[in-house]
């Protein structure tokens, strides 16, 4: 029921609460309200609506107050004296003083916060450096955005094989057929020819072999010579500045002669050294036509793949449409249905290349590894921010009085939020200073672990500097935001009366949640590290099916005198001219056998070996026999297959069956022959354990292939290597070919180089994450112990033992850690499983790593909390209780 008197009284109250209105002014407004009400009533309104309309006509009390103040004010400032000022310069200094005082008085907590933030920021800056480096590859070419590399895709029913090379005639044919293709260039490298001038010879230089358009297609700045014409003459060579200096000193190299192999090339240009952020790396470039002479490259053969081929699309071309138009191109040219071309953008080559037969891409990166570590770095920064939040809210009681006093003397909530945010931002910038110091100190170590070449000075480039400042500011806001809002909400009356105990209410639950999150993240890290380590151990110890130890592989020219020397040395146990295991084989264009189903598209991989293969690599036969030098037909009419191939040929015994294979000869020609299967070899891993063992067909023509594999007795490795080098230099007196060798172990190891780096970096990140999470735990434990001082005193007086008290406190922390593990480990298990699926042969993590990770994080957490806890439990209860 509406009561007019009561409504008017309430309206008056609201008016009188306005500090701008004097009593007389308020009284006058009240009479006006009465008049308005009477007016509306006499116009036929009921009392309630009359009151509402009258109140609306009077306007809000605040408006009246402001107008009265404006009309009556005597001071210059438009701000009424009862409103607090928005900005008080003197307070700013006070905020800084208070912040510094807090750091000074609570060194331990300040250390936890600053050190944690520093570690988190150092990781984040490191990742920013890394990302800036990795994403900056190949951006220096003019029109680089319209350059694409041709990737050849060959599909079969199980998988598709992506080859980084395109059929040799593909790029020119595309330019002829598609107006969208403005230009093309083919490129490959060789580092066996050697570059020489007189007696000087260098086999370490990478020689680029490219179409004459190379220097107009890509942008490598010329110091001498003309990019347009430098590669037109077949025997011309363009050198980098450092190669020129090496051979010619400070003389002008233009017009001088350099030999590649035996042939003289005229220097027609000198370019600046290749920048680090280029996937193409070479010391000199010669025209592609020479490939025909050296390698019998058939430039018209669609089955020959020697070059990485690049095309440039015309302006205003939509790449996706062009790619779609090209889709049937290769099938048509090669008369096959299962091949096609893909376009890979130039800027993706560095990070997104996982192809067979790629160039030896300079510092090849991996987008997924980069993403993994970016996430890891953010997680560590998050851990540090959580430390800050937890400690700030837990210790809020310490600041409650300050908040109360500030509010009583006129601070608004927003002022306090600003103050606390300012403090956390100051702390995060102190953390940044420490982070830069850490980064400067540890960057070389990281470069060693990751095989990267990150430079600290890059940090000071404006773009990155802004990003770093941004991340620091963000982490300051993230860490300080919640505590600031929480602290600023304290009610001064409760705080100052002393009825307030900070760090309680629902916020304790949130704190526990954050600790759970921290240890969950840490458990994730630990579990991941353990699984990666297990897989790496598995790879190292798994039997490959052959003996890879003490086998040296040489790339040899066909010199009988050298071979005779090798075979007559007693320290050399075996020698075999074969494609060495650890080499990616290329599929045979076609393999058929008696009884093959017409729809069977299983790819077969031919491998060229000689009769000594079996003994040299200690491989085993499970059926039939291996090649023999004494049986003439073995040279041309016999093949040996591996178990997988035998299985692929069906359930009938493979031995004795006829097999027809189309393959590439050493002359680069395609030929088809029919063989008899004479034996089945036990499976061994030809390549990385990422790939399942593939069907291999061994043919007995390894002597056509320039690899010599030598098994050396275990006691004589250095002297045998010396012997080999001497024999080499005698056999190849003009040093036309370098003496280079590789251990077979190393060839296999190279498959897992990236994985080993991942393991190292992940290990470091795990330690940092653990460190940061433990810092927070130490802080919380110290706080809890401090808060429970009196409780501990009473318990001790009543007869509790020290270790009972420790157990009481530690139990709670350990329960959090355990809970975090329970939540995080299933997720970690899932993530690790995804990584492991990249390997065809892998460990089954089982429950072991989970138990280990849990035990490890419990042990670390226990160590972190026990110091303060034990200290508290040992204190004399009299000291604790004396406060009463």
């Amino acid at each position: 029921m509406f009561n007019l008197e009561h409504a008017i009284a309430e309206w008056k109250k609201s008016l009188r609460r306005n500090p701008a209105l004097e009593d007389g002014q308020a009284a006058e407004l009240e009479t006006a309200l009465q008049d308005e009400i009477e007016g509306f009533v006499s116009a036929g309104n009921d009392p309630e609506s009359a009151f509402r309309k009258a109140a609306a006509a009077m306007g809000p009390a605040a408006d009246s107050g402001r107008e009265f103040y404006k009309a009556m004010r005597t001071r210059r400032s438009p701000r009424p004296p009862w409103q607090p000022p928005r900005f008080v310069p003197a307070l700013l200094w006070n905020y800084v003083q208070v912040a510094l005082r807090k750091i000074r008085r609570q060194k331990g907590y300040a250390f936890i916060n600053i050190a944690g933030l520093a570690v988190g920021l150092a990781c984040s800056i490191l990742m920013m450096l890394w990302i800036a480096e990795e994403t900056g590859f190949d951006r220096f070419h003019r029109d680089g955005d319209s350059i694409y590399r041709l990737i050849t895709e060959a599909r079969n029913e199980n998988a598709s094989i992506l080859d980084a090379r395109a059929p040799t005639p593909a790029a020119p044919a595309l330019k002829d057929e598609f107006p969208e293709v403005a230009d093309f260039c083919r490129f490959r490298t060789n580092n066996n020819y050697g570059v020489r001038l007189g007696d000087q010879v260098s086999f370490t230089e990478v020689i680029g072999i490219a179409d004459p358009s190379f220097f107009t297609f890509f942008t490598f700045p010329f110091i001498r010579g003309n990019p347009k014409t430098s590669l037109i003459e077949p025997r011309s060579i363009v050198v980098t500045e450092s190669l020129a200096r090496r051979f010619f000193g400070d003389e002008d190299p233009l017009g001088k002669l350099l030999n590649i192999g035996r042939d003289p090339y005229t220097v027609t240009g000198m370019i600046k050294d290749i920048p680090d952020n280029s996937h193409l790396h070479f010391a000199c470039v010669i025209p592609a036509v020479n490939m025909h002479e050296y390698h019998h490259v058939n430039f018209a053969g669609w089955d020959s793949r020697f070059f990485s081929s690049y095309i440039r699309l015309a302006p205003q071309t939509v790449p996706a449409e062009t790619a779609a138009k090209m889709s049937g191109f290769l099938s048509r040219k090669m008369n096959k249905t299962n091949v096609s071309l893909r376009l890979q953008p130039l800027k993706d080559i560095h990070l997104k290349s996982d192809f067979a037969f790629d160039l030896n891409n300079y510092h090849q990166g991996s987008a997924s590894i980069l993403a993994l570590f970016a996430i890891a770095a953010s997680a560590i920064l998050l851990l540090a921010c959580i430390n800050f939040m937890n400690l700030a809210t837990a210790r809020s009681a310490n600041r409650a009085k300050e908040v109360g006093m500030r509010k009583v003397t006129g601070a608004r909530r927003a002022d306090l939020v600003r103050q606390f945010l300012g403090e956390s931002i100051i702390l995060s910038f102190l953390g940044l200073a420490l982070a830069l110091l850490l980064l400067w100190a540890f960057l070389p170590l990281f470069n060693g672990l990751s095989g990267k070449i990150l430079s600290f000075t890059r940090v000071f480039r404006p773009g990155l500097l802004a990003a770093i400042a941004g991340v620091t500011l963000f982490s300051g806001l993230l860490a300080g935001g919640y505590p600031a809002v929480y602290l600023a909400a304290f009610q001064p009356a409760r705080v100052l009366k002393g009825t307030f105990a900070g760090g309680e209410r629902g916020h304790a639950a949130l704190r526990k949640g954050l600790v759970l999150l921290q240890f969950g993240l840490t458990a994730f890290f630990i579990f991941g590290s353990i699984v990666v380590d297990m897989q790496m151990r598995f790879i190292r110890t798994k039997s490959l099916g052959i003996d890879t130890h003490q086998v040296v592989t040489l790339a040899i020219p066909p010199r009988q005198s050298f071979l005779d020397a090798v075979y007559s040395n007693p320290k050399i146990l075996n020698a075999s001219q074969s494609v060495p295991p650890g080499t990616n084989l290329r599929t045979a264009p076609e393999v058929t056998w008696e009884g093959k189903r017409p729809d069977d598209n299983t790819p077969f991989y031919p491998s060229k070996v000689d009769p000594d293969f079996l003994d040299t690599f200690r491989a085993e036969m499970i059926e039939g026999r291996f090649f023999s030098r004494d049986i003439l037909s073995d040279w041309t009419e016999a093949v040996v297959v591996n178990e997988t191939a035998a299985r692929a040929m069906g359930s009938d015994p493979a031995v004795g069956r006829r097999l027809t294979m189309t393959a590439m000869s050493s002359q680069g020609e395609v030929e088809t022959r029919t063989y008899t299967v004479i034996g089945v070899m036990k499976d061994f891993h030809q390549t990385s354990l990422r790939r399942a063992i593939e069907p291999i067909v061994f043919t007995n023509d390894g002597n056509q292939f320039p690899y010599l594999n030598i098994r050396i007795g275990s006691t004589a490795i250095p002297e045998t290597l010396k012997f080999l080098e001497d024999a080499w230099n005698t056999a190849v007196p003009d040093r036309l070919f370098p003496f280079t060798y590789a251990f077979l172990d190393d060839r296999y190891d190279a498959f897992y180089q990236q994985d080993r780096r991942t393991r190292s970096i992940l290990g470091v990140f795990t330690i940092l994450a653990l460190f940061t999470a433990c810092l927070g735990l130490v802080g919380l434990a110290a706080f809890v112990a401090e808060k429970r001082t009196k409780e501990i005193g009473i318990r001790k007086v009543l007869g509790a033992s020290s270790h009972g008290i420790v157990l009481l406190q530690v139990r709670e922390f350990l329960a959090w850690v355990l809970g975090a593990n329970m939540i995080a480990l299933p997720l970690a298990y899932f993530a690790a499983g995804r990584w492991l699926r990249e390997f065809a042969y892998r460990v089954e993590p089982g429950i072991g790593p989970a138990l280990l990770a849990t035990a490890f994080s419990l042990a670390i957490a226990l160590a972190a909390v026990s110091y303060k806890t034990i200290q508290a439990s040992r204190a004399n209860p009299a000291d604790a209780l004396r406060f009463e």
Binding site: Q25, A27, E28, L29, T31, A32, Q34, D35, E36, E38, G39, A57, M58, G59, D63, S64, E67, F68, K70, A71, M72
Partner: protein, 112 residues
């Protein structure tokens, strides 16, 4: 100049002019302005009372709390001598403005 400012600008002159015919109070002033202007000028309490306070402090008007015919206390305003003088000056000022505007904007008919 917003329409709110346009309404407030001549308010002082209007109040003085209304009080010339005798004492009045806030609510009555608002009603009379509305009636005489045919609803064109709609004054708010928020605007009026601070202005009355200010004019009183300037000595243009004088106020007195009196019992109204409805037997309620009400604040009545009357014109002072100084107020009469000010009214004459205000009128002259507004006339000048009126003339100037007529020349600048052309004759204003009712249709405009």
């Amino acid at each position: 100049m917003s329409s709110k400012d346009l309404i407030a600008a001549p308010a002082k002159a209007v109040i003085l002019s209304l009080l010339l015919s005798g004492e009045s109070y806030g609510y009555q002033i608002i009603k009379r302005v509305r009636r005489v202007s045919g609803g064109t000028l709609e004054w708010s309490h928020t605007m009026l009372y601070p202005l009355l306070n200010q004019m009183e402090r300037e000595g243009l008007i004088r106020s007195e709390w009196k019992t109204s015919p409805e037997n309620r206390m009400r604040k009545y305003y009357t014109l002072t001598e100084h107020g009469r003088d000010e009214l004459a000056e205000e009128k002259a000022r507004w006339r000048n403005v009126q003339n100037a505007l007529r020349k600048l904007l052309g004759p204003m008919t009712a249709v405009d």
